[in-house]
């Protein structure tokens, strides 16, 4: 492989790796925030992500595209609605599947199982709603949506408008989340509940409400990630949640589950690792080891990292769990 090809591909590979990494980070936040307050993995989160994507795409295709508004404006509306629906769904799931178990003091593994059940249920309900014969819902592309096909040429790298949109939206969401958690009373309450539920309730915090809020925020972020994922990869479907969900869960563990900055760092590292591996494995082995082995490299490195930092990269460094 020529050095020219090697270095020529590096900038765009990093950009693409960061953009998928940011999406993993958004999903990972949902896992990590719920873990922070309740110490269990909400495996239904990947399906909340999927519902957000499907709601966003359906809304765009059926209601927003006919309005002829600027596609960016349409996208913002779709994101807001998808976030609201996904957040509400996460709250509803908490109400139906987790809270009854929690008030009966069920062991931690029990809500895990009901989360898996919820996940399967959501996939099948969505399949039923979307008509099993036609489950793939394409993101609109024609007409004014050419907007997203443009490239921004910076000389050393040309970046697609979809990628830029993903960057901007995720950055705004992350900034909002950091502000909410660190600089508001609600955020302080969330951090307090994450540290110690019974003491927080003695301090006058309504723990149940805070848990509901945490589910809403995590779910809403997942919904936004869903719409962005559909934008970038062009399709939403009932089964789309599994792989991004698994990767995001991995990212959350890598960063240190329960830690918000950890989820972001973990997502970015995982996204970068797999994209770099996917690009350079075949180039460095003369196509003997193909791009399909990227996950093996990425996950192999993850195992190595976790051996040396079992609590994840930022799991111990941050005293608070949220």
């Amino acid at each position: 492989m020529s050095a020219e090809l090697f270095f020529g591909l590096l900038p765009i590979t990093v950009v693409d790796g960061l953009s998928i990494g940011l999406m993993y980070a958004m999903i990972a936040l949902g896992y990590t925030m719920v873990y922070g307050v309740l110490e269990f993995i909400n495996f239904a989160h990947s399906e909340i992500f999927m519902v957000g994507a499907v709601v966003g795409v359906e809304l765009l295709v059926n209601l927003l595209v006919p309005t002829g508004l600027h596609p960016l404006f349409q996208l913002v509306i779709a994101i807001v609605v998808a976030a609201a629906v996904a957040g509400a769904l996460a709250v509803a799931i908490e109400r139906v599947a987790y809270r009854p178990l929690r008030v009966r003091n069920a062991p931690k593994l029990v809500p895990l199982i009901s989360a898996i059940g919820m996940s399967l249920l959501l996939i099948d309900v969505m399949r039923l709603i979307l008509n099993p014969a036609n489950p793939n819902r394409p993101f609109p592309t024609a007409g004014s949506y050419d907007f997203f096909s443009q490239q921004l040429d910076l000389g050393f790298v040309a970046i697609n408008f979809k990628t830029i949109t993903v960057f901007v939206v995720v950055m705004l969401m992350l900034a909002g989340l950091v502000y909410l958690v660190n600089y508001t009373n609600l955020g302080r309450a969330i951090r307090a509940v994450a540290q110690d539920q019974s003491t927080s309730s003695l301090m006058g915090i309504n723990v149940s409400n805070i848990i509901v809020l945490t589910f809403f925020i995590g779910g809403a972020l997942g919904g936004v990630a869903g719409v962005l994922y559909a934008l970038k990869y062009g399709v939403a479907s009932p089964v789309m949640g599994f792989i991004p969900g698994l990767k995001a869960f991995t990212a959350a563990v890598l960063g240190g589950i329960g830690s918000i900055p950890g989820a972001v760092v973990g997502g970015l590292i995982l996204g970068l690792l797999e994209t770099l591996a996917g690009t350079y494995l075949p180039l460095m082995t003369q196509d003997q080891i193909g791009t399909e082995y990227k996950d093996i490299v990425a996950f192999g490195l993850l195992i190595a990292i976790l051996i040396f930092k079992p609590a994840g990269l930022l799991g111990k460094a941050v005293a608070e769990k949220v």
């Binding site: 591909l9 790796g17 394409p138 997203f148 697609n160 193909g290």
Partner: protein, 389 residues
Amino acid sequence: MKKRYLGLAVLAALAMGAEAQNKGVIKIASQTPLSGGQSKLGVAISNGVRQAIDDEGKLITSLGYKLEYAPFDDQAKSEQGVANANRMINDNDILGVVGHLNSGVAIPSSEVYARVGLAMVSPANTNPLVTDRKSTVNVASRICGRDDVQGPAGADFIVQTLKAKKIYVINDKTAYGEGLAAAFDARAKALGATTTPIGIEASERDFASVLNRAAAEKPDVVYYAGIYDQGGPLLKQMRAKGLKQPFVGGDGLDGSDLQALGGPENMKNVYFTTTAVPLSSLPAAKSFAERYNKKFDVTAEGYAAYGYDSARVIIRAISSAARKGKPSREAVAAAVRQVKFQGITGPISFNNRGDLPVAKYVIVSAQADYNDNKVNKIVTVAAPTPDLK
């Protein structure tokens, strides 16, 4: 006295008549993906089977059997296909299977059918190994073409017609994709082109690595051996990266979801080879297409007509084997190979391993609307008969 005899005779006749109407249940099964990303084609095949049972089920019911249809969902996953196959072989009423959509599912599932001699007639599995294995040679048949013809046909088209020298050969790591890509690759190299083999897991939707490299290396053509539910997004991301090269694939791209997922505006320079002749080029299928459309409220696309003809093969085989009582599965499987009729997809008969003696291969240029897809060329090629494995 006489009256009593008469009465007895009437009673006996009635009893026999009732018995004739009650020789038992015969089931025809199908296995295709009815859920998941490839369900559109899977449902199309299943609809075809339903239509065939409605049209020709009387060939079996008139012999006094009750005919039922048992659709199974293999989810395009080999483990699900094998699990369903194990359920099927334990239901003694199932005498024939139409399936599958994916060669990678058909191959292990037919190993299970072979254990009890259950006949499988495939509408869509093009991997050579579907009919080339000793273990299943008595049960597995198909009414479509083979990838050892389809792959080279695609290579001829790309190298000779599109004049490509440098080709990316992407496959989806399934039995179908790998087999088709290998057959394509061998012919393309023999014609003097240089190829870069690339594998992408069928569940992957992020193609940044491959496409960035393509943007740097600028291949003349991207060849994709896989199914439209991945091929569509691949094409879309390819065009979004500014790569305008021709995108060529196999019969896995033959479905309206290629347009839906790839974007109708991206269909310039998109071609695929297929063994499912489009209905527009099958005059005999006109009334089928109309009835199908009316009954299921969708256009009959891709392999729908082949699902219909596959089921007709099984119906005919059962009906010829069932004249003297409910037939064994082996008898039905043997009868499948004797079936000979004019199907809506062309003349149907089988060689001794279950392939059509000659099959049609089509080169299609995709258009923004699936129904406008243009047939570039139809060739008829005799089935290769390599040694059984």
